[in-house]
Every structure is written in C-alpha cells, then in structure tokens.
Symmetry: D2
Subunit: 480 residues, 4 copies
C-alpha cells in the first residue's frame, strides 16, 4: 500500500524458553504492516555478545538468510524492528536495530517515533568530535550514552537515563545490553507500546499486542508514557520507573498525545492499542458515523480491507445491507504494461476491483477509514460507476486530514492533502461523489474509552499540536 | 494457502494495441490464485518467431527478469499460464507454456486440466521413437501434431484437429503458432474458459473473466464445450467450430460436466464462470444455507477470505449480525520458531487470528465455503474458544467432500478427506463444534442459473463421475 | 582468452571407489581450457536413475549449486562435459550432457566435435514427427537411437550402433545408460580421447590425460579411431569393438585426420594427446623453429602462457637467453573505463603487460604458438616497443593459418585470418615487426612421433581437408 | 593462493580526463594480488560529495554492481583499496575505503599497513565517548581528526597532520576530502607507495607502479618516507611536505624499514618498488643464489609463477637448462571429492601438476622464492618424484623465515614456520629433498640498488625489528 501513515514496529522478547529471537521475528511478522522497508533482529547471547541481522525488504525476505546462531538456544533476549523509511534515506545503514560497541560493550537499539530535537543534538555531538554513521535520529541516543560511560563508571542504566533526559518528541525505544533489555515510552506517549507475559516464563514488549499471538504471551498492560522498564532476563518481574526526561514538555493538566490515527487506520484490528481494542473502536466509529451522517442507499460497501470494520458498524447501525462491492487481489507487483500505453491511475484497479453484479443498479455507500491524497479514491469511485452503480456516496470514519504530522506519520506535504484547503463539498466534487461525509472530531474521540479525550493527539485533523513543531523544520535529516 | 483445489489458469491475448504479452501477464496476475508454482508467457512476434519466458514462483517473481523483447511492440499475440503442480513434478521443465520447434515452425501450448488418456498416448509415442522432454500430459498434444505435419502438408490447423480428436478428459488449451492463436475447451466443459473483446480492437481468452479487468476487455461469452476458436490477429472476428473429438464421451442427453467447485471455492468472486457471476452464486449459497440450516447464534463470522460471501448471504437471510471475528495477516512466510519448540498446528494461527473483543462471550456461527482435511478448521475453532467464544457453530456452503477428483482438482487421497467415511455428527465432534451443517447438493445446484443442473460435475460430493476414471489410475505420470 | 580454437572437453568415470561424479568434475576442472561456457555432469545411480546437473559458466560456478545426491555414494558412473559454444546458441538447453528418457529408459550423452551431416539427419527426423529440443548436433544421436528401440527389443547397444553408422564428421561421444558407459571416437579420429585405469579399480575416459591427475588414474592408451568401448561398471575390463560406421569416409591408405592444432595450441602441456606428450611436442617445435628460422636477438621472450614451451625450446636450440618480458595478470574482468574514453585495443594490456626493465634497449624475439587474427599481437608488439625494445622479432611455432576448420575449431571467417591472403612479409608489416617467421608444415609434423604424418589433419594451414566440407555449409545450425 | 604475505593495495587518481574512479578500479585490478578479500572505490564528485562502493570479493566481482554514478564524468578524484584481511574480521564493515561524515563533511580513507599503537588510541577514544564502527586500525585516524575539527576551524589539513603525529607503525594512507586527495607514507617507509603522472593531465598514487599500466601514467618517483603529498585536482603539481610525526621513531642514522619481502615475493615483477625494478631484483637474486649455492642437476624448474624469475636468473648464471616441470591450472575452486575419500594434501595438486615428460629420469633443481609453512612444498616435491624425477634439489631466493612480522605481512604463528626452530638440513629432510639451500641475507640485500642496505627491514629473517613490537601484542584487534 502506498498509503502514508506507515512507520515502524518494535518487538522485544526476553527470558522465553523458545528462542527469544524467533519470537521477536514472529512478532515483527505480525506487525509487518508497520513497516515493509527493512527488518532486523538483534540477539543477546549467553556469553554477553549481541548478534545482529538486518536487511531491506519484508521480514520473511530479510530473515531468509539470517545465520542459524541468531535463533539458537544460547540467545536469551532479542529486540526486533520493522522500518518504514520516514527519513534517513533508504540505505541499509539506516535499518534497525543499530548495534555498536561502546568501549567494548555491545549495545543495540531500536526506535519507533521521531525525536524532535535530534538535529541540534547531532550538531552538538559533531562539534565534540563524534562521527555518526547513520542518518537516523536513533543513533544519537547511543552517542549521548557513550559520552557518559567513563564518568558514570560504565553504569549503562545511568547513562541511558541521562541520554533520555535530553530527548524531545515521540519515541518508543528498546535497548539491549549485556545486562538485559530496556523498554521506554516517551512522556507524551505518542506511539503505543505494550507489555505481555509468557505463561511459562518470559516477557514480550511490542508496539501492538497482535505481536503476542505467536509468542503465546498474554496482554498485561500498555507501557506508561514516560516509563522506563528494565528486564533482567532472570525470570524476575521487570523493574519499572519514570525516567527523568523532557519534564518541561508535560503540559500539566493537558494530558498525553496518543496518536488517534493508530485507532483509525494504522493498527491492526486484533490489537490492543493505548488500552483499547482497535476492533471495538473501529466498529464504534462506524456506528457513530451512521448516526452523524446517514446515507440514502441500497448497500454499504467497505473499501477492503481498510474500511471493513467501520462498514460493519455503519451497516448495523443504519440497517442497510453490507456487501462486498470490491474484490481484492493479493498478488500484485510491478506492472508489465508500458506506462505510455496505460493510464497510470488504472493501476489502482489491479489491487482492488469492483464486482459488477454486486453494485450494478444500486445506490452504493462506500465506507473508508480515511482519505489522504484522494487519488486512489477517485479511481475506485469511477470504477464503481463503470460497474453500474447508480449513485455513489462515501462515508469516512475520521475527520478530514488537513495538517502535517511531526511525530512519526509520514503524511504528504500539507498541500497534497485533498482536504487541506477545501470544503467537504469541494472534495466530494473532486472525488466524483453524490455525497460525502466525515466523522466529527468529537465523534471520533467518543469511541475510545481507556483514556480521557485530552490524552489523544488529533493534530493532523485540528492543527492543534501537543508540542511546538521543531524550530529547524523536520528534525535531524542528514545523509551520512 | 495449502487448500487443495488450486490448479492452473490461462490467458491469451491477440490483436491488442497494448502489447498482448503485457496484457496476458496482467491477466495471469488477476488469476494468480489458480496457480502459484510457476508462471510463463509465450509471445508471437511480427516476424513469426515465438519468445518464451517462464519461471518458478509468482507471476511478479517469474516475470521480473523477463527480457524486454517479450513486451515490446513487435509482439502481436501471447499466451500465458500459471501453474499449480498437479503432477509432472516441480521441475521448471514442467512449467508452461511449452514451446517447441516442429520442423522449424515454432508452436507454443498452455493447458488447464487433465488429459485422462495421456498415459497410453505417451507410451504409444515412445514406441514410435518420440522423445518427450517433460512429464506433463500437455506435451503429447504437440507430438501428436508433429507426426501429422508432413502428410497434411504442414497445415497446422488440420494437425491440431487430429491431435484433439485423440484426447479424453478435461482440457482447456491455448495454442500459439505463427498463424495465430487457438482456444479449445473439452467436450464436457470441465474447466471454464471465456472470451472477451477489447473495444479498441483485440481479443482475450481466459479461465476467468476477472483476467479482463486490466486488459479493458468486455466479457462476451464462455467458450462452448467442444469448441475450437481461431484468432488470426488481423482484427477479424475469430472463427468458431466444434472439433471432431472424443465424441463417444458425450453422454447423450446427460449434459456437460462443469466443475461446481469453481463456484464454491476456486474462482474469484469478481469473475463470470460457466456463464454465472461467482459473487451472486456464493451469496445465494449463503442464503440457501441459512434456510436449510439456521443456527441459534449471536454473530455470523466468515473465515476470511474464503467464507466471506456466503457469510454475507447467511447473515442477510438469517438476520443475524455479520462480524469479522478473524483478522488476517497478509505477510507471512517460513516460521522462525524451531519446529521442535512449537506445535505445528499453531502455524495456522500466523495467517488468521481471532479478535477476542469480537467473539468473547458470544455464540458464534462460522461460515466457511468448504472443509477438506479439516486440520486448519480444528485450529481455528479452538482459537475461537480460547478467545472467549461461548459456542461455536459452523455452516459450510457446499456438501461434504467424500470422493476423489480425476479432472484437475488436487484433492488429497480420499481417506484424508475428513468427511470421507464419517457422518456430519462425527465430523462436528472431531472439529470441536457445537453444531455443524453442510449445504445440500440440490441446494448448491439451485444457486447456479446459466446451465441446467445436469451440466455440472458434482463427483467430489456424490461420487457420480461424468466419465469412467482412467483404467490405469492417475494418468500419464512419468518423470522425464 | 578470446583466442579461437576452444571447443569442448569430456570426462567419464566408472567403477571408482571415490564417487565417479566427483572424479568426473575434477577431470572437467583440469580440462576447463577446453570450454568455459557451460559445464555439466550426469550421474548414474545404483538404482538405474540418471541425475543431471549443468549450468552456464565455469566448472566451479556450474557445480556450486549441484545437489548433494550428484556426488554421493550411490553413484556408480558419471559423464561430464565442458562446453565452448561452437553453435546451437548459448542457451542452457544446449549445454551438455543431454539427458532424455527413451520409453522410460534414461540416457545421457556428451559430445566433442562436429557431426557434418547433422543438418540432413535433423530434417529427416522432423519429417517423421520428431520434436528436437536443442539446437545441438548431439541430440540427433538420441533420436536416431530412440527410433530403433522397439524393433530392436530395447537393446540399447544395438540402437547406438545403428545411430553411429549414420554419422559423419568429427565426434567423440560418451553415452551413459542404466547398463553402463560407452566411449566412442569417430573413424578419422579428429578429436582426442584417451583411456585411464584407476589402480584401486575403475576406469576414466577423457579428452586429455591431464584429467587423470586428480582421479589417480594411469594413462593406458588413446581410444582408437572408430572404436566403441563399453564399460559395464562391474570391475571387468571394458569391451572394445570397431563400430560399423562411416566406412566410406575412410580414405584407404590415407590415414587419419587427427587435429595437429591440439598439439600446437589447444591441449595442456601436461597431457598425452594422440599418443604424444604435448610438452615434448611443443619443446621440439621450438627447437625446430630455431633451426628453421634463427633470429639475431638478445633475448627470447615467450607470450605467456601460450608461447612458453616453444620459447624454451627456441632458447635452448639457439643459445639465446630466455626472459619473461611480459607479466600476466590473472585477475581481470569487465573494464571500468568508458569505451568512448579508452582505446579498445589497449584492453589487451590489462591481461599481459611488458616489463620495461626486461626488454628496454634489447633486440627481442617473441615466441608465440600461433597467430590467428593478429589483433592482440599488434598491441603486444607495440607495447614492447613503448617499453623500450630496440627490435622486435617474432617466431611462430606453427605455419600461417589460412583456412577454415569444419571439424570443431572455432576459427573466425577465413577473411579474418591475418595470414589468409597475405604473404609473411605483409603480415610482419601489419604487426609492426622487424622480422617474422613461421614453422613449416613439415617441421611441425616432424615433431610428433606416435603416428605417421599422414594421420594428422593440417587443413587450417594447407586447405587440404580430410573429407569434403558439408554440402549445406556449416552443418545442423538451427535454433530450437 | 593460500600463501601468507598478502595484505592490501592502494590506488588514488585525481584530475584525469578519464573518470578517476575508473582508473582507480583498473589500478586495483592490476594490484589484485595484494588482496582478494574485498575491494572498494570512493569517488569525489564535482559538487563535493563522496560516493562509496565496496564489496567482498575480487575487484571484478565487487565492482560488478557499482552504481553508474561512481564512474561518471562528474567524478574528479577517487581512492581505491583491495583488502587482505589481516585483522578486523571479515565483515564488510572492515572493507575499505571507509567513508564518514565529520560534522557534515564527507571524508574517505584507505590504508595499507598496521598502526602499532592503534589499540591504545582506540581505548582512549572510547573513554572520551567515541563509538567506533569497525574493527580496523584505520578508523581511528578519522576519529583523531574529528576531535580536532572545531578547535582548528574545520581546517582538514591541520586536523590530518595532528592525527598523523599520533600514529606509530606501518601505514600508507590515501585520504579523500572535498578539497582533494592526500597521500601519506609512514616515517620508516615499511610499505611502498609511488607517484605517477598522466601525460594529458592528472596524477596517480599506487602501492605498485604496475597500477599505472592502464591509467597511462608515467612513473615519477616513490613517495618518500614521512611525506604527506596533497593533490588539489586543479591540474597543479601536488604540494609535498614532511609530516610532524612519530619523530622519535626515527632511528637517527639507522635508516628506513622498507619491507624486503615485497621484492622477494609480494610485488608483481612489472612493478617499481622502493625505487627498484622488482623484475631486476628477482633475476639478480636467482643469479646470486646460483653463485652461493650451485646444484648438480640436469634442469632448473621454477615453481610457477612465484619462482619463475629467480629460476631464470639461476639458469643463466649456472648454465643449466630451464624447464617448465610444472603446469598450472588457472581454473580451480572448491573440490568435489569428499574429504574423507581424498587426501587433503593432494588438493595442492589441482593447481600445479608436474609434467612427467619434462622431469622423468632427471636431476631436478626446483627454484622457489620462499618457503613459509612448507606444506605445499612437500606435496610438490613428492609429486615430482612420482612423476619420475631422479633427484630433487631446491634453491630458495631468500633466507629462511624464522620470525613474526608486525608490520603488515600475515605470516603464520612463528612456530608454524617450517624453518623457525630448525636447521636447513632438518628442513630438507622434512621436505624430502636431496639438497636445499637458501639465499643469504647479505646476498639478498646485495640485489637491491636504490637504497642503502640499512634502509630495508629483514626482521622476518633476522629477528631484528626496526621498532619495538607493540607492548600489548598484536595491536588494535577488536571486533565491533
């Protein structure tokens, strides 16, 4: 999918009987939707070494040539990462986890999010003589730690705390050292991170709880915003603390900044995210959407698979039949048709095709989770009409996207957002719809239950950013 | 998917402005579900040469290293094939199309089906000194033709007719010669083959009409059983004739033997097959199933994606809410977990996982299109119970599978079919269900409309074979 | 090397304790100079099956992905082939050995040489309905055999005899059947083939005896022209017979047609070829050259490695010091310099470079084994002068090449031979030499000892062909 | 070759009309014998960026997938490296050149030699917080520079000078920055580095002058020990200075420490090294050897190719005929023979085989350049006897190897050196020789002419090291 909003996924496992690295890789597979550009696993062995294997491509491709040692019985903890290239270029150098040797001590790190002040930290490190090897904002954490090692008697925990205290923005981190594994979630809680326990022993940390499915772990709770959790790997419970960081960022009384778009679009419906079932939230969004914006139609048609759950909610609440008006081909790839011969737009059709017998002669209400650029929607709506639909209406289970995201979602430039400067009526006209309606911000927030509404970031819809955007623009971008 | 019932798909294109080979490859992509083992395209050029490119793997993989010439403007016709390895071994030699030089004349052929008397023809050819290069039943057609060339003054059409007259069993064939393209469907019409017309010029033949979606072709009609259709590529209408073949196989007054399982499971819902919309047939099967076997339940849950359409029909007819109780991961591959550490069965879980919040505490009615071995069903039903389902019922939109197929569907040995020797009650017990019911044969046949019910083969359900099984067992098996 | 004259090499092993296929592969490695385009090994197993592995590239590359089974203990005989693509195109289809199933019986064949009447046999087979899969002249042998099988009660030996009786031209063949291995050399003995015995048991057949070095075999004798030798693999001595073939080709009293160019250039100096030591023959050619054409010079400089042995002979006989005036780089490949920037000719310099301190100020006599096109010689002579040589003379250890070869040596078109229409003086001028002289035909033939001089083909020097050139030009060329 | 003593090679090109990167790659090809483990080229473009391509394998393999941009017209300077893995592990991370970004400024470095105090510098850098990415001693140079950048106003030359002043041991360095290229040779001149000028414009620096052959450059002179040469790339002459480094290492009046083994074995005979022609030196060593140790023999046989030049000298001086008693196969690879079936030792035979007709019945004097472990020699001598040699004598064109090298030659552990603790007589017995003799140290040194004898390091023969071995053993070894 070319849909924006894909970023990264994390999975760390420690203390399990089955090789933690194997479970971490399975956890990445279950979170492949969070990043298809690269995948990697770092594994801590009995003798305190860390092995790393990372490659471009899907988890299955990247792990295909992993050395056997990565998955063998001597591994006692592992952290894994799937990458969607927000920035840093697509060089394998920028894949994660990143493994370095600090004064002979191996340390691996994996990161989901965007550190807002990475640029200024990077420049400061360089002034002091540091040579950074990657273009990622992640690597600076390691250099901040490395500077502290000697004066802190090589106490890794202390050095990590100091480094964290200097970071701003959105970050979930997994850190692997010879002593064990750390899991950290930033003070505003932009990105999700949750904790699972394996009944026979061992712990799992992942961006989404769906990663637990193959590990056998049970969902325990979300990692709290501003928490640092340490797992020693000896079977004992992890130690939990708040880290001394970015305190000034806390908007006292203003709550957290959890990304509501995870519920709308990004997370898998089988996951728990920010303490809520994504499935439940989406179904409820569909119901709420039906109440806010009923449509005079014969069938409710989901865009597969993204609009499926909202469409079920919409159908139930409205009483209009749900129907699969589109069929999806799971096998696509580069086209064989010369682009000068074929309309570029129609490529969208290769993946999702209308079923004429399902829509011909009907008033169709298409339910989609979100519209970003609108280009694929145009094609699909046109295809529905060509397949014989009498009317085409669209209902969207979130508000119009009108603002940039600085915290990890790879939306296009603001002016590429179809709703950026346009009224809903104008968007409907461009998309070729008989009617169009979006879920309201209030409606959307009413569907989540685990946190108060002020604990969610809705900046891409409202423009109200939880922290100031970085003064030097998009942070930390530098090619190595 | 490891589900049996996958065989082969064909797509031939001639006379189009866009390179016919590119359109054929797109047509294969849309039919990738019919075979993932190998893919190939043979292309006829302006100067009467035939280029061939075939490889193991998916269409996108197999075509990745195709030479540019295959897709360039000098190509005037192309036939493509996706293969599911029924027999002949997995050697690339057995991939199709097969291209040979007959006395200097290039001829390519692609085949979907099983020629019942291939074994005896093969042995006869060998006695006469022929050396066959592949283990396929397809190659014998070429050798039968080759023997006739000289005595028929190199009239390719005449030689093809003679060869066809000797074949028995199930076969759709595409033949490419310097003169043009032939499309053939066997006299009993086991496998589907349909004709499309490109408005700006050109013709398309494919196993399923979904293959037309990227070619821009309009569905014209199915190729009739026993028809041989020739396309000269000069823009004129194809010439249609009945070929003089296998006449004794026609059961006078007994109708055709079109495979009903194409509608139940194999074809894509967006396709026209045997003159009916697969989508409509499946929805109707769900409705009929609800009338035959209502369930006392809270939600109707489809097995994704196979049970989706029947589930929608079932939900509508029964009035019980449809819900997505399973979520599907499109990214899987080889597992990383040591098989000695993980229960083999739980691998099923990597692809399809239950959503606890959708099923917990509910009486769930799972709708599936068919049950063959039953092994994956056992795992899924167990997973639903672990996710908290109170009751689990299953409704299947075809009758129980109890007999082997000799005409192209790769079912397992009869004794591996879970329903082979068992009552429905016994199957329900093995699957761990609270109740189980199958659609009746009559109910199933009542859902198709384009042909009389006697025109469908239901042998895998009823054991009533349209022709005698081959006397020498599974035909033509020989490794080259 | 881009030098013409490279064709194919054979190695067959049977009955050895070490896997015959491993020894055959080693034998191919030792004969890699005979063909670098493709390599393959066919292995007969205990249970009468034949495994085949062949690939484009060097032996080491081609065998890198060979299945283990090819080399395991169940293999009892093996035939191998290295290919230099004389014709048939570079498709892997044309690599050898060729393995087919004749009426269920596996047969593999490997061939060195050129069957002159392959074209007419091919056309006759096609008229009878045979479909040939390759463009090689080798495959026709198998089809000729296949036609005879039934009427000869599947007696493979008898069928092979019949096929051989129809062949004309140059051919050494190794045939592997479930019964054992056959080795055949054509009646005129164009190409070499020799027999070795492994002291602990087993037999080896190879184009050159250097192939015995890793097998531990001792040289027994050359396979006689017109012999068919059968090895049963049970430890008994091979049975030897003359085959009933091409009798009319024997020029009674005129002797054989053994290729003298094998001794001049093609074979490795460590080999026995046609019963003579290649080393001895080359040294003697150098001595004779010195007697026929002394040079007034300070140093004798061989072109590495081709002129080395003749240069040693020349130096000894003349009493002039030998010196290595050229150094050779064994590591080269595609150039990185844009061909529009660099003179194409100077690429020759990457492989062989003059050593200024060895030649500066000296009168250099370069000794080379042969000159074909002359292009590389021009560059090297120019380089010697640039490195400071005062005079450059050249002595060539064979006569001038002036005629095409129809029996396996891939010389360029006659008019590309620098000496084709030119006097030695003219050639010397073109090459930029102070003097040039070639060994005489008589001188060359005086250096071999195992056969009378009339038993050698010198057609490329003299134009006197041992048989008539094929009436239809270069034989059998057809792309499949 | 498995012979020790292979290390690294450098080639830098600037200001040439032909892409400097293409010429540098050609220069590496000509120096491939100096390292086959990895190869790389860093290229400086018009706009001040540096592109890097490096891979494991031979130059031809490593450069096969280089991006076109690396060789295009915008490149104005390039440095290349071939690596023999002395230490740092075989990870691609340790291939060179190494490219980093120092505060946004790209800098690439390539290194030949061993920095003795790398270990202590590395530890010091780590204490200060630096994270080193590779296990090489090369990377520390960059970190030493990086630390100086800010306080020296980003004056790259100044920072490089400071870094150099801290290094001890053997190092030739090429440094590429947006300003141009630096070439450095350590104060004792362990390793060679020479300067060439391209007549049409541009400069080349390489370990050996043979690298100039394809660049068209003329040999100018060796880079002096302790020199730093800067090339701006604007066509002007390079600026030369002595760098302020390791002054205390200069043994006043004691001369340099140029590695005599470059002349004996390592460099190519066509090269100028330390101001002498390697060809001349080797020929002279052979002559001197003949005078010091005549042999009563019939033929002088070189071990190909290493003993060739000394053998020619030996033959000329002694008046005994030279003969090629061994033939070499340039095509080898992994063996196909099960190691349990074949004597490991005989694998040596695959590469170099005796020619029976050249040695049978003769008293053979084998000339070799050096003996290290002696294992391959044992096999070859045995093979000569099996081929019929009546007596086998050996003459070696350097003294016995008895001591470790700390300055870049990868000799085995001292106790693996066959001569380490043994008399020449004992070695002769182990090798199975009728007689054995080595060139004396004085004899060896008498053959070089460009520098006084005290300017050469002979430590591997004499144990007299030019500087103290590093106190902490083999320096700087750490896996990243």
């Amino acid at each position: 999918m070319n849909r924006p909003g894909e970023y990264c996924g994390l999975c760390g496992v420690i203390g399990s009987r089955t090789a933690p690295s194997a479970l971490a890789a399975e956890g990445l597979l279950a979170q492949q939707h969070r990043g298809q550009e690269a995948a990697g696993v770092a594994a801590l062995t009995d003798n305190g070494r860390i092995l790393l294997h990372k490659r471009k491509g899907l988890v299955s491709e990247a792990m295909a040539d992993a050395p056997k040692a990565l998955f063998d019985g001597s591994v006692k903890a592992a952290v894994g990462h799937v990458r969607y290239g927000t920035f840093g270029g697509d060089d394998i150098l920028n894949a994660q986890p990143i493994l370095v040797s600090m004064a002979g001590i191996p340390v691996a790190i994996a990161h989901n999010g965007t550190i807002s002040n990475a640029g200024s930290i990077r420049r400061d490190l360089q002034r002091k003589g540091h040579i950074l090897q990657t273009g990622t904002d992640t690597e600076i954490v390691l250099h901040l730690m490395s500077r502290e090692l000697e004066r802190n008697n090589y106490n890794m925990r202390r050095c990590f705390d100091i480094a964290l205290s200097k970071l701003e923005g959105a970050f979930c981190l997994l850190l692997l050292t010879p002593e064990g594994m750390y899991a950290v979630r930033d003070p505003l809680g932009f990105r999700p991170l949750c904790l699972g326990r394996i009944p026979e022993g061992g712990w799992v940390v992942a961006s989404e709880s769906i990663a637990f499915s193959m590990t056998g772990a049970e969902y325990v709770r979300e990692i709290g915003a501003g928490e640092i959790v340490f797992f020693s790997g000896d079977g004992s419970r992890p130690s939990v603390a708040r880290f001394d960081g970015a305190a000034e960022l806390f908007r006292s009384g203003d709550g957290l900044a959890q990304c509501i778009f995870e519920h709308v679009y990004f997370a898998r419906p089988g996951s728990m995210v920010f303490g809520d079932s994504v499935y439940r939230v989406r179904l409820e969004m569909g119901r709420r959407l039906a109440r806010e914006h009923p449509a005079d139609c014969d069938v409710v048609v989901p865009v597969p698979d993204s609009g499926m759950f909202a469409a079920i909610g919409y159908s139930r609440e409205s009483g209009v039949d749900l129907d699969m008006g589109f069929t999806r081909n799971h096998y696509v790839g580069r086209t064989f048709i010369d682009p000068t011969q074929a309309a570029r737009q129609s490529m969208v059709m290769r993946k999702i095709q209308p079923i004429p017998s399902a829509v011909a002669g009907k008033r169709v209400c298409v339910v989609e989770d979100s519209i970003v650029r609108g280009t694929t929607s145009i094609t699909r709506i046109k295809a529905l009409r060509e397949a014989g639909a009498r009317e085409v209406h669209m209902r969207v289970s979130c508000p119009p996207h009108r603002h940039a995201c600085y915290f990890g979602i790879d939306f296009p430039q603001q002016d590429k957002l179809i709703a950026h400067d346009r009224s809903v009526t104008e968007v409907a006209r461009i998309l070729g719809l008989d009617s169009l309606a979006y879920l309201s911000v209030e409606g959307m927030l009413s569907c989540v239950g685990a946190h108060p509404v002020r604990d969610y970031c809705t900046a891409c819809f409202t423009g109200e950013y939880p922290v100031l955007p970085p003064s030097d623009g998009y942070p930390g971008k530098e090619e190595p």
